[in-house]
Symmetry: C2
């Protein structure tokens, strides 16, 4: 088994999907939680000045989705064909389009402008993505692709909290209930359930 150190801040954010995948894969790993006061010291020593970062037998890699896809392939969570892998990738990228649109507004520092942008997006932008994703998950029996568990489900399970933060629609869970099915499917895996309970 390779020696793995996973570094991220002490939050789910963009790191949890990777922690969940490592847990699913039965990979022992050091779950290194970075504090914001120590981050400036570590930052220049990371590949891109970004977290999360994973070290595999001493070699460092960055970029949350790239790491999740890698772990998904390693643990057999990518389907059987290249077209299967493409279907997961495209659906995850649609999810990312939505999250990035939300994050862009979330980072706006002018509060009045932020409010206007959110009002517009909640009316005209977010619902289209959410309806599409909800219907994709419905069609795939509570999964993001292929009708079965893939690494993309771990992205939803890990990042749905962040999604709700940057896409602030109070009725999001009631209106688009399929996301919760994915989360429940992931957290009902025994090793993931045990991991989750150990973090409470």
């Amino acid at each position: 088994m390779p020696k793995v150190v996973f570094t991220y801040f002490d939050t789910k954010g963009w790191g949890e999907q990777c922690r969940l995948l490592l847990t699913y894969g039965g990979q022992e790993f050091e779950d290194r939680r970075m504090t914001h006061d120590k981050w400036p010291e570590l930052k220049p020593k990371t590949p891109f000045g970004q977290l999360p970062m994973i070290e595999i037998d001493g070699k460092q890699y960055a970029q949350s989705l790239a790491i999740a896809r890698y772990l998904g392939r390693k643990y057999g969570l990518v389907g059987d064909t290249l077209e299967d892998a493409l279907e997961i990738d495209q659906n995850v990228d649609l999810l990312m389009d939505l999250i990035l649109k939300g994050a862009q507004i979330y980072r706006e520092s002018d509060e009045a402008r932020k409010e206007t942008l959110y009002a517009e997006a909640i009316k005209n932008v977010f619902p289209g993505y959410l309806e599409k994703l909800n219907s994709i998950i419905e069609k795939n029996n509570g999964h993001i692709a292929l009708g079965k568990l893939t690494w993309g489900d771990f992205v939803i399970a890990g990042a749905f909290g962040s999604l709700k933060m940057v896409v602030p629609m109070p009725d999001i869970e009631q209106k688009y209930p399929a996301f919760q099915k994915v989360i429940d499917n992931v957290y009902s895996i025994p090793s993931i359930k045990a991991y989750s309970e150990s973090k409470k």
Copy 2:
């Protein structure tokens, strides 16, 4: 050989990387160029209401990077190991971070605000990404990863025009000359050279 139809607007934009990869792979494909007046009619018939779209033996897929990664795997442009594939993915995602930051400002409709945001990003945001990417390419002998040709190089070759549009730094090519090496490496492949000349 599967029947492939590739649909995008009549521009390089986010489609060219896929056209170049299909050409590299020797895949015959219908290069369907959508006009903006016909797009509203096609839009609801695409997987996500987005272009590019690829149809492989009648099945449709969306999302430019997902398609490029798929074609890269199909044509042996992903290295040998899962870690190789991860290295390409993370470096391409860093490129995408830069492009998305640029695109976010590019889409700003308030011209005065756009100018302020660009001035700030050109000073404090873009150079960090460009220096990092330039140094990655230098280290990889004119490639984005693995020290050899991968599908990531086709992303740079296809999208560098778009990058320059959304990251408007007049001296970008002089200051970060490694990008041009990647482009030259891709366009010196005989089939790509022939394709490129046929489009002039």
